[in-house]
Amino acid sequence: MLYREAGQFKTSYAADQALMPITQDRVGLLVILVVTFVVIPVFATDFFIGSIMIPFLVFALAAIGLNILTGYAGQLSLGTGAFMGVGAYSCYKLATIFPDINIIVLILVSGVFSALVGVLFGLPSLRIKGLYLAITTLAAQFFLEWCFIRIAWLYNYNDSGAIEVPQRKLFDIAITGASATPTVRYLIIAGLVAVLTLVAANVLRGRIGRSWMMIRDMDIAAELMGIRPLYAKLSAFAFSSYYCGVAGALMVFMWLGSAEVEAFDINHSFLVLFMVIIGGMGSLVGCFMGAAFIWVLPIIIRAVPQMLGLDILAATTEHIANIIIGVLIIFFLIVEPHGLARLWQIGKEKLRTWPFPYAST
């Protein structure tokens, strides 16, 4: 009804190729941006910002990273957690070595190290595919975890073995460390995630993104159209790992405040992979949906008994939340194996043709 493109005629290829060709989509995005950057910082509680929105955005960014590699370039990876770790540890080292450089710059630079490591562990993808490749990325996961424990230089020879985030300021406002307010940290993360999402969308719809999808869908034909698998696959690994690395750096510096190697273990790799699968392979919106589903929903479910004033043990709510999430995952994967993003897409298609069941072309 409200969502239809009747009357919106494209008169140029530029208009037709726009990121959001339909006006309603643009309005929707505007609303989301206003909510993200104005409504939430002004009205939301510190708990909501610190425990829901910040982790949600960090994981959404990591999911975008993995989705670029798995959903767009078709290379399965189980090393997301480790790549996030590379970002976090290199950001920590950079902050130690260059204390005067703005921390936001360092976070963005630390992704580069993650990208380099990603390329290194992406090399097997030139020979092997699918599940076998996933196993070799496990090697990255375990090897890097080992590095984070054994190479004491990475955590400045701390006795605790943890990386502690130093206090850093921007225009005299604390943006990292204990005294930084959740709202400030949230705004920085939201800004970075918004920009990086736009960058990803641009790259994915252009020549480079197309080459990744060509490799994903039919590598033989892609090679025949002049795509070099070496460049396409390794650039996908680099780009994807960059996002994971930045997400990891954000996770430690803007959310946790300090982290040990457990923050980057295989469970986190799986967590991000589930976000991508539930959200939808090959969809940027899906990354946000998946992150919301896997991270935010359990928190909300756990909070419901409290809000209703029910006296249930914390452990019981935890179990109930796990059961509900598990059932929902199964439900959504049966309804739409291609994830929430596809479900959303189908819903929009239905609205466009409403009240008719399908459109005649």
């Binding site: 140029s12 290829y13 530029a14 190729q17 960058v199 641009n202 790259v203 719809r205 252009g206 020549r207 480079i208 993104g209 197309r210 080459s211 999808m213 060509m214 994903r216 869908d217 039919m218 033989i220 034909a221 892609a222 090679e223 025949l224 159209m225 002049g226 795509i227 070099r228 090959g282 072309t361």
Partner: protein, 284 residues
């Protein structure tokens, strides 16, 4: 890349000539685009192709036929670099080469369609054909990130060319649809469009009519003829429909058990006893 387009255009006239004049080997006439000399290919002990030589002249439609397992597709795979023959030399545009990667073949001007449709199933028709322009797009990572200015201009410039192909193949109505959902005949057409988008000098078609009904075959034949006469593209096709082959091809090479048994105009090939024996069998 602009060079290729120029070559294709400037050759427009002689090409049309070669099409109308059925006689194939014009002495000193059309130049050789591709020359295959004494090529042998084997996988372990299995000989796929044995000592095959033939040439493809600029602007002609060359058919490769033969019974199942004769080595036709292996021959195409050798030409565009998927297989590396153990013996023999292949010269494209006068340049001999022994080993070549598929992407190098693509860059030198060879495009190809596949026997079983090899489209990018997750992408739309438009993106599939745009992917054929990959080699002609050069804007670097920085511009891709911004997606303004030169990168956008490049995208739109190639979109224009792609839309011409879409018009030519009459597939405007499925422009935005994912190709995985299209009927088979249309998928074959999109695949042809994708190969066309590369603006190749030599287009290899592996069974373009396979699995099509009569109407679809007629359409596809029309596209192939137009492609050859209007755009001057040299075409090598493998096909089992003899009616199509005899009507479209200027010259036909016949393979059987990896060996060449005949080469010539459709009339000559039809009259050859070896070809008749290969297709119909010999009484023992």
């Amino acid at each position: 890349m602009a060079l290729q387009a120029d070559v294709a255009e400037s050759d427009g006239l002689p090409v049309a000539h070669a099409q109308t004049g059925q006689s194939s080997v014009q002495p000193g006439g059309a130049e050789q685009l591709l020359k295959v000399e004494h090529v042998s290919l084997s996988f372990g002990g299995v000989k796929a192709v044995t000592d095959i030589s033939f040439d493809i002249l600029k602007g002609e439609v060359r058919a490769i036929i033969g019974p199942n397992g004769a080595g036709k597709t292996s021959m195409l795979n050798v030409i565009n670099g998927f297989y590396h023959p153990q013996e023999g030399v292949i010269s494209f545009k006068g340049k001999p080469r022994r080993r070549m990667k598929p992407h190098q073949a693509a860059a030198s001007g060879i495009a190809r369609t596949f026997q079983n449709v090899a489209l990018f199933k997750g992408m739309s028709t438009l993106d599939n054909i745009m992917s054929g322009r990959s080699l002609k797009m050069h804007r670097g990572f920085f511009w891709q990130v911004l997606h303004v200015g030169p990168a956008r201009a490049e995208e739109i410039q190639h979109r224009r060319r792609v839309e011409e192909i879409i018009d030519f193949l009459e597939i405007a109505h499925i422009r935005k649809q994912p190709v995985g959902k299209l009927p088979y005949g249309l998928q074959k057409r999109v695949e042809l469009g994708r190969a066309m988008a590369m603006e190749p000098e030599l287009l290899l078609l592996d069974e373009p009519m396979a699995g099509m009904n009569l109407e679809e075959k007629e359409d596809m034949s029309r596209f192939i003829i137009d492609l050859n006469t209007e755009f001057g593209t040299t075409i090598a096709l493998i096909e089992h429909d003899m009616g199509v082959v005899m009507d479209l091809a200027d010259r036909v090479v016949v393979l059987d058990y990896g060996k060449k048994i005949a080469d010539g105009t459709p009339g000559e090939v039809q009259a050859s006893q070896a070809v008749i024996d290969a297709y119909l069998g010999v009484a023992h």
